[in-house]
Amino acid sequence: MSLSKEKMLELYRWLLMDRFLDLKANELFRMGKLMSMYHSALGQETVDIGAGFALQDGDAFLPSHRGKGIYILRGLDLNHFMAGMFGKKEGLGQGRIPVGSHMCGDPSIGLVPIQGAIGSPFTAGVGAALALKLQHKPNAVLSFFGDGGSSRGDVHEGMNFAAVENLPLVMMLINNGWSLSVRSEFAIPVEHISIRAVGYGFEGITIDGRDVLKVYETTSEALHKARQGGGPTLIEAMVDRWTAHSANDPDIYRTDEEREAARKIDPIREYEKVLEKEKILDEAKKEEIHHEITRLLDEAVAYADRCSEPGYEEMIHGVYKEAG
């Protein structure tokens, strides 16, 4: 499951896309241009992208409410997505949904919409895996959730049902140690949530989510196993939450020391070191990729700016299937 040098560079490119898209969203939110809620994925790009990079055509996935790069990685058009984040008429969702946070769906690329209540999408992911099984497809579902969501009752029901049905499901639990302002010690009575897998009879693994190659390899193996009929796997990826819960959160519950400690390791910088050591990346190449992604994002923002405001007509249709 190891990657070629070319693929390793491609992975780096996607990590930067995720990071820069996130920083751009933060900037746009502060400018008042984003219509929707904004939950940053800074510092955990390695999980969203590392795991997403292991998906194959035909697989389905349910993103976390943070990572945005994975939507582009899996085939959504960046301009369309950006215009959607702006809430524009021509954009994804036509101004209806918080693009990049929740409710983006497209069955043609296996994207199952996630709901805004943390943990709620979990059973829908189990159902997507059930669909793949019943359709006898050689594919699997990658379902992201977090340590906060793991406390939900339907997550238990979903895990239990997925285990009983031996479904092709890989559960990617991003553990950043916080449920908004509540520390893990007040929400999770065990050190690692992966231990709960024992209770369902499937494998549970805890990994360093800041190590993108580890995330990619572990996810690849789990997806491979699931596609072969080997059943579900729970992967708990430990990360640091760099930012507040959301752009609306004043983050008053952490000390300056804690905020600083959370940012001590930059997982993307760590990956750059690996690439530099392997002579895959040098300053010139880095510069080139930075430029390319910045240009793509600037173009997307310019496109979104040019798009128009939706009106009543854009809001009211399509509640039910319409004729024609």
Binding site: R96, V112, G318
Partner: protein, 334 residues
């Protein structure tokens, strides 16, 4: 023509649709072996014909049933999720009202979620407080959702087949009292009944009674009684699809009679009848001779005592007849 019980019509509809379309499957509690195919027998013979893959006994997990059905529907399947008792729809609420019913709208009308949530509802069989309720009003305020409530075996079969082929989520409520008490002719040839179309169960000219589920039969009995004793001509309208409502058929009937009584099993306050009354008041108040009356359960829960349940809690034909007589006295009387 052969006759079928209500539950047999449900069973036949599902079997026919599963034969026709390989993406249809069913999941729920105790549907394989319990009581020989569901605790009401609705899934009888399905395991034998379609096997364990398409007839899935689930753990006792309404959240997993409702959520996984929504996810599977989004990804190309047509699940029938059996929720054993409609009271348990409250457990499923999240994935139905925040998920399945919003998926199409969220995608700008493109991607639907063709799932049917079937559930046995209703009082009158001594099933008591948590196995007897009518939950339609709990679900009424959810754009994107469709609620179907058939009152006869013929309607049940045609509507369930249409619901399975429907491209958006449907909550399909089956009255458990009717399951094995009501038998009628059901053709063997295939037929569908369109979702969203009300049916006039009995024509009349003096008063319109709009009733749902098992209450249709109480309303028909009341109509017969009043015709014989009071020479009143009662029209009985069965909405069949409660959401979205067939306003046209209802308004047409009300405009004709000028008097209306709405009957349902759930408590009157905040009930489905309030919505119907509002639609009539907004669109046809100038045609009305008197107040819109509602007959439903009082503001309490379903009692265990048989007499309390049947005579005091549930609307009966005599309570409906009383309301009809009351409204008939307006507009110069009939």
């Amino acid at each position: 023509m052969r006759e079928l019980y209500f539950v047999e019509a449900i069973n036949e509809a599902m079997i026919e649709e599963m034969r026709r379309d390989p993406t249809v499957f069913i999941l729920g509690e105790d549907i394989r072996y319990g009581h020989g195919g569901g605790i009401f027998g609705a899934t009888k013979d399905m395991l034998e014909e379609f096997g364990e893959e398409r007839v899935i006994d689930t753990p006792l997990s309404e959240l997993a049933i409702s959520g996984s059905a929504a996810g599977a529907a989004y990804m190309g399947m047509r699940p029938i999720a059996e929720i054993m008792f409609a009271d348990f729809m409250s457990i499923c609420h999240d994935l139905i009202v925040n998920g399945a019913s919003k998926f199409r709208w969220a995608s700008g009308g493109e991607h639907g979620c063709p799932v049917v949530y079937r559930a046995a509802f209703g009082a009158g069989v001594g099933a008591t407080i948590h196995h007897s309720q009518s939950p339609e009003a709990w679900l009424m305020n959810a754009p994107g959702l469709t609620i179907v409530m058939p009152s006869t075996p013929y309607d049940a079969k045609g509507l369930l087949k249409a619901a399975i082929r429907y491209d958006d989520p449907v909550v399909f409520l089956e009255h458990k009292l009717l399951y094995r008490r009501l038998q009628e002719e059901v053709p063997e040839e295939e037929y569908l009944i369109p979702i969203g179309k009300a049916d006039i169960k009995k024509e009349g000219s003096d008063v319109t009674v709009i009733a749902t589920g098992a209450m249709i039969h109480q309303a028909l009995e009341a109509a017969k009684l009043l015709e014989e004793s009071e020479n009143l001509s009662v029209e009985v309208v069965d909405p069949r699809t409660l959401l979205p409502l067939d306003e046209e058929t209802i308004l047409e009937s009300v405009k004709k009679t000028g008097r209306v009584v709405i009957v349902h099993e759930a408590p009157v306050t905040g009930g489905y009848g309030a919505e119907v009354a509002a639609v009539i008041a907004e669109n046809a108040i100038e045609y009305l001779d008197g107040p819109i009356l509602r007959v439903g359960a009082p503001w309490c829960s379903v009692p265990a005592n048989r007499n309390l349940e049947r005579e005091h809690y549930l609307p009966t034909s005599s309570k409906i007849a009383q309301a009809v007589k009351q409204v008939a006295s307006f507009g110069g009387g009939v």
